[in-house]
């Protein structure tokens, strides 16, 4: 049962070893070592979403990425911001934030100020209004098949949305974010653009969306990704998730 993802992953990695540049080859060698030390049927440690290590195989493929992968990459970005002391500038949210916000916004019996299940959204809004962070950014799932990026930018008073395939910003998301921002700041946020790389394949929107959020939060460290570098980005994400998993695992071995 666990053999196929393992075999597919190594086959995919081998395609990079053959004829790829030194950056790819070094990364592949590093990932191979990390995979050799990981138990494929175990849980991926160090991330909020329960998931198995074998589910990480999606990074080393052209498979569509799930909310678990998107959350892992956003979590890595949050850690990076925290390490750099920049978490006060941008609050990175998992995919559930926008989903929950939209469900609150669309509820005709909305009782946002007292509803207990909205408490964590209200707390974030309070922190946003008091300047604990100046922007909030995340990734949202649209049309049941596509990942896009968004940011609530207090400095520019904008709801900024980015679609790697050039689609229009989804009205419901924009209205929900505008409502939430106004509810907490009393200020009107207009629609603005968020920078994002241009996607030309049929499977990489998740990578582009997370990169757009990273570029918004840390533009110097995360330049916009181009189509030719998407596979490398996926492998870097796999390496970084495996490193966190390894640090959290008991008995995990590194060979450097």
């Amino acid at each position: 049962m666990h053999y196929n993802p393992w075999q597919r992953t190594h086959q995919f990695l081998n395609t990079f070893e053959d004829g790829s540049d030194a950056t790819h080859a070094d990364l592949v060698a590093e990932i191979t070592q990390l995979l050799d030390g990981a138990i494929w049927s175990s849980d991926t440690l160090g991330f909020p979403d329960p998931s198995l290590v074998q589910e990480l195989s999606s990074y080393a493929s052209q498979v569509w990425l799930s909310d678990v992968h998107i959350n892992q990459m956003l979590n890595l970005l949050s850690r990076e911001l925290e390490d750099l002391g920049g978490s006060s500038d941008c609050n990175i949210r998992e995919v559930f934030f926008a989903d929950k916000l939209i469900s609150i916004f669309k509820d005709p019996n909305r009782n946002y100020l007292t509803d207990r299940t909205s408490k964590w959204i209200r707390s974030l809004g309070d922190e946003f209004s008091t300047g604990k962070f100046h922007a909030l950014a995340g990734v949202h799932h649209v049309n049941s098949l596509h990942w896009i990026a968004y940011a609530v930018d207090r400095v520019r008073k904008e709801i900024r949305v980015a679609d790697s395939l050039g689609g229009s910003p989804p009205a419901t998301l924009v209205k929900a974010l505008q409502w939430w921002a106004f509810e907490h700041t009393g200020e009107k946020f207009v629609l603005g653009k968020l920078e994002i790389g241009k996607q030309s394949d049929s499977h990489s929107c998740g990578v582009f969306a997370v990169n757009a959020v990273a570029h918004f939060a840390l533009p110097d460290l995360h330049p916009l990704v181009s189509q030719k570098d998407v596979a490398l980005k996926r492998l870097q994400a796999l390496r970084d998730v495996l490193l966190v998993h390894g640090q959290e695992s008991v008995g995990f071995s590194f060979f450097y």
Binding site: D49, F96, K100, S103, T117, W120, I121, L165, H203
Partner: protein
């Protein structure tokens, strides 16, 4: 599956527990709320692992539990979490989201 939930918005589901301290044994009512607002109610003892509730909910809506995300106060519910460990209150709610995958528009 959505219809099934809509048709039984107040149905209660009782889950078994291992008896411990008296207060931990006291059942509370918890509702599971989907992103479209559909609600399923459970009566559960405070020391019962919420993973049992998750399995029961998944069976009820006919989905694999691995494809459903359960959140409390915006955080993913973990394997060993119980109502007691999360300080849940009577009539508290758990949000559920379904697995999402994406690649292109």
């Amino acid at each position: 599956m959505a219809d099934e939930l809509e048709n039984a918005p107040t149905q209660e589901n009782e889950l078994p527990v291992e008896p411990k301290a008296e207060d931990a044994n006291t059942p509370i009512n918890i509702k599971v709320v989907s992103s479209t607002g559909e609600e399923v109610f459970f009566k559960i003892k405070r020391n019962t692992k919420l993973s049992k509730l998750q399995l029961a909910y998944a069976q009820k809506i006919g989905k694999d539990v691995g494809t459903i995300r359960f959140l409390y106060d915006g955080e993913r519910i973990q394997e060993d979490d119980t109502p007691q460990s999360l300080d849940m209150e009577e009539n508290d709610a758990i949000d559920v989201m379904v697995e999402q995958v994406g690649g292109r528009r």
